[in-house]
């Protein structure tokens, strides 16, 4: 596939998914929305927020990063299922994909472009949202708080941003695995809700069989020598976990390619 074809395919995918991506990006920040609503509807909360000591504000931001990262790994995975369920099936079911299949372009390229862009978006949803949640909270604190200033707080918040980013990187790998699995369903099933149902069952099974190991593998590195909890180490996944997750994702991608090659659409 040459660059012109790849660019055209990616452009089409981006134009088709940009609003969906934006909607999911907003849906991935429930803590920001809940906090914003809580502050706006209750003056007492607003006052507390304004006068909160700087140290407490940093702790709140740390808590938000932790809570957001747990959200991405639980509810976020279900959102990824929802996101991926229609990624291929909608175009196949409507047969609009025939416009492309009538062109001199391989099915491999068509599906690869679809997977690459939607997969990247799914990764971004999982990977960036701990950081963007922290940024939203930090900007809110800077704008409202009487006790926190940019100069004084930067030294505390910048390392936290690094941690949030690192947490996101590893969460994104798990998100891509779930995305890849559901993507392969969406190639097989032309009704997006069947892919979604199958994806939900798969994620529940994932939690049922591997949930404890997954959670422990995340929490263990964060436990220090004396039993205290360190957010600095919280984001890390073991190499084995990352490797297995990526191998499953690649396997699902190759499976969806094989299924799409064999799919005969009338």
């Amino acid at each position: 596939m040459n660059w012109t074809k790849a660019r055209a395919l990616l452009w089409k995918e981006w134009r088709e998914t940009r609003w969906k991506f934006l909607a999911f990006f907003l849906a991935f920040h429930p803590l920001v929305w809940i906090s914003a609503v809580a502050l706006l509807v209750d003056e007492e909360h607003w006052f507390t927020f304004q006068t909160m000591p700087a140290k407490t504000a940093y702790q709140v931001m740390e808590g938000l990063v932790f809570a957001q990262s747990m959200f991405t790994l639980t509810a976020g995975l279900f959102l990824i299922v929802f996101y991926a369920a229609s990624s291929a099936s909608r175009e196949i079911a409507s047969r609009r994909i025939f416009f492309l299949l009538e062109r001199p372009v391989t099915r491999w390229s068509v599906l690869s472009a679809k997977y690459a862009l939607s997969g990247l978006q799914a990764y971004a949803l999982m990977a960036l949202t701990p950081l963007t949640t922290l940024l939203a909270a930090y900007i809110g604190v800077l704008l409202v708080s009487h006790t926190v200033t940019l100069e004084a707080s930067w030294g505390h918040v910048f390392p936290l941003m690094g941690t949030a980013f690192r947490i996101g990187l590893w969460r994104g790998v798990v998100g891509v695995m779930v995305f890849s699995l559901v993507f392969s369903f969406s190639v097989v099933f032309e009704q997006w809700w069947i892919s979604m149902g199958a994806g939900i069952v798969a994620v529940i099974a994932l939690f049922y069989f591997f949930g404890k190991s997954l959670i422990l593998s995340i929490l263990e590195p964060a436990r220090g020598h004396r039993g205290e909890f360190s957010l600095d180490m919280f984001g890390d996944l073991s190499r084995e976990t990352v490797l297995i997750t990526l191998l499953v994702a690649i396997g699902c991608f190759l499976l969806s390619q094989i299924l799409f090659q064999r799919k005969q659409m009338v």
Partner: protein, 296 residues
Amino acid sequence: MTDYAIETANVCRDFGRRRVIHDVSLRVPRGVVYGLLGVNGSGKTTMIKLLMGHLRPTEGTIAVLGRSYPADLLAIRQRVGYVSENRYLYDWMTVEETLHFAAAFHERWDWKKARRLTDRLQLDPTMKVRHLSRGNRARLCLIVALAFDPELLILDEPTSGLDPVVRRDVLESVIVEIEQEGRTVLFSSHLVEEVERIADWVGILHQGRLKISAPLEEVKASMKKVRLVLNGREPDFGQLRGVLSVEKLASEYILTLGEVNDEVLARLRRWSAREPEIISPSLEDVFVESVRAEVW
């Protein structure tokens, strides 16, 4: 280089246990407008999807412009323009975006031709596809299929659902223009008069079987109709060789015969009150008889 733009040999296609294409050996010479005629459900669309490589044959081989599937799929698509019956387009794109998108895939895309056709077919480049009428969607699909100067143009029911103006002024004139450029056109239709007007070769597909494939004049000459006014009681028409059908219209009989030789004519004269009148059949007559009598 082969003389045929399309050459299939004993192509069969099954869907589950049902065979929908039976042993089709189709040869479309280069530089002709070939009309593939058949009633709805006769297998025309399946045959075209086989020719385009969207479906694989259960048995048999397919060669398009001397190349075969699946090895030469991309090379074939670089040289074959195709408009499907459903005219698949992305509704959210504008006309201009659709052309730019399609242009990215075709090495020989000719922007001058695309612009000329857009002007000639009176399409607004800024209009969203979702706002186009059926006729304009057909126009856009045709531009996309023609703008890279394909050697072969395949159209599946190109005029279905279109008003007569779009049919005649747009599609047919474009098809004729393509033929004048020496390219090959294959189109399917269930409208006999349309095929008769623009095709110079005809294939009749019925229940997945290719009943006939020949130049239009040859197809029409393959059958004769005779108008007869009897001089006595009704004879046993079954005695006549090659009789395909007998139609009674008041006092007249219209006989459709595969061949009218001297022996047949002598017998008809004996039965007739006046000289039997030999009528040249239309393509519709041939089509109806070939579908009804299944004699081919």
